[in-house]
Symmetry: C2
Subunit: 247 residues, 2 copies
DNA sequence: TAATGTCCATTTATATGACGAATAGGACAT
DNA sequence: ATGTCCTATTCGTCATATAAATGGACATTA
């Protein structure tokens, strides 16, 4: 039972009741609140959260669009298996990382980065335009400026990686802008522990330099090293599972 | 102006009015129907398609969840820039590939595969369980059996790649199951032209063999070759743009 | 004139109540 | 044991009314 009040829902995401309820339900689903029992009916949801049926219906429709649930008459609304959740939806990702944070998930996410970002860097070295290059440099400069650590450097770090993804001129890679941003921000409680390494300025500079010089292979390798270092740190934090290596 | 009737909407996706309208609006948006003029208001949409406001609202809410539009009071509903569309939503991807099919998009999608699938194959070589291995082999056998070509071999091909992604035991890679399936099926009109190459049995067998033998590096290399061949064919079909190489 | 505050029109957001359609599961007959 | 039918339940759809938000017009004021 979650039993939120309308006021709380409104505060939740700063928008409106529908988005507030969406957020509440999303979190509840990813934390497994409905794994055994069935998902509440329209009427029950409306009653529990003190909102109208319209609001619940629209929230549930959005959950459907993100793959978390499916609804059929008489059967009711049912939570879909995790495999059909859209992990690249920033809402879903945020819910997952915030509530049930796990090293496993962080490792798996960085395995993804390790596949995506080096290729994106290589493409950026070939295709990035002046704007992209400027953004990449700007991100690097911000990192240097905020070298003290903390939230500053995290945002600068994100800006750098986002700029590279965008510079790839491939919309599928560019799509990961939000994903990477969301994931890095959501997992800050962990990554803070390994700061100083993950935000290694020289390694980032090497990526930027290779892209500027239009050297895709060097850019790929430099970016690969960067992400690999993060993966090494994660494995080091949990030696047991290190079997899942990825080089 | 699209002006569908409720009956047409129902047929569209075989489900209900809401999903039918979602589909119609999604297609209209990705084909740029609303790029200059503004998106219709709730009332207009309801009138144009002969459905109630509830249906339009829920369809629009789903579009919102997929990042295609945003809605605010007084401002109305506005189509978001392409960069914020969720390309990894199978609906969005299907709409994009069906209506405005382009070699560019196909190339970019295969650049993504070229980043993802080799790493997934390497992980699968390390982590796939017996079920996964069986599925990979089954896909390969289906390909051999359907060697005549046509739709049979495409489905077998998809099954093979999906099995590898699943075998990676990484939910982010596994997520691409639907994406790869949707994209391959949607781009069949083009890929048919280059069949026989893209579905090279020996190359697929090499991937499967490396995974069975638990050789991640070989699996990665074999999968890389497989996707690279597709990319080469795409570049060959459109020599001008081949500058966007990706090795 | 320029800055600021007030009001208004428009559009989405929310609420409510009613009815329709589909179907899971049981009752019943065979 | 099997197939058929019925019914209760739940989502799907519709209609209408009211609230909230906001961009812009307009008035006010320094």
């Amino acid at each position: 039972m979650i039993d939120t009040t309308p006021a709380e829902l409104r505060l939740n995401l700063g928008r409106n009741l529908t988005h507030g309820l969406l957020d509440a339900l999303g979190r509840a689903i990813v934390t497994g609140q409905y794994d055994n029992g069935a998902f509440p009916t329209e009427a029950e949801l409306a009653k529990q959260h003190g909102v109208s049926r319209s609001v619940t219906r629209e929230a549930v429709k959005m959950l459907t669009a993100k793959g978390l649930v499916s609804a059929r008459p008489r059967q009711g609304t049912i939570v879909q298996p995790r495999s059909s959740w859209n992990l690249f939806d920033t809402d879903v990702l945020r819910w997952l990382l915030n509530r049930k944070f796990s090293l496993d998930l962080l490792r798996q996410f960085n395995q993804l980065r390790s596949a995506i970002e080096p290729e994106a860097a290589a493409l950026a070295a070939l295709l990035a335009d002046d704007n992209d290059l400027a953004a990449i440099n700007a991100g690097l400069e911000r990192m240097k400026a905020a070298e003290t650590g903390g939230e500053q450097i995290l945002e600068a770090d994100i800006a750098f990686h986002v700029a590279v993804l965008k510079g790839s001129k491939n919309p599928f890679f560019a799509q990961f802008q939000d994903v990477v941003g969301t994931a890095l921000r959501s997992s800050i409680q962990f990554t803070n522990r390994l700061k100083g390494h993950s935000a290694s300025i020289p390694d980032h500079a090497a990526v930027a330099h290779a892209i500027m010089k239009r050297q895709p292979d060097k850019a790929r390798a430099a970016m690969k090293k960067l992400v690999s270092d993060v993966l090494d740190l994660i494995d080091a934090a949990e030696p047991g599972k290190a079997a899942a290596k990825r080089r």
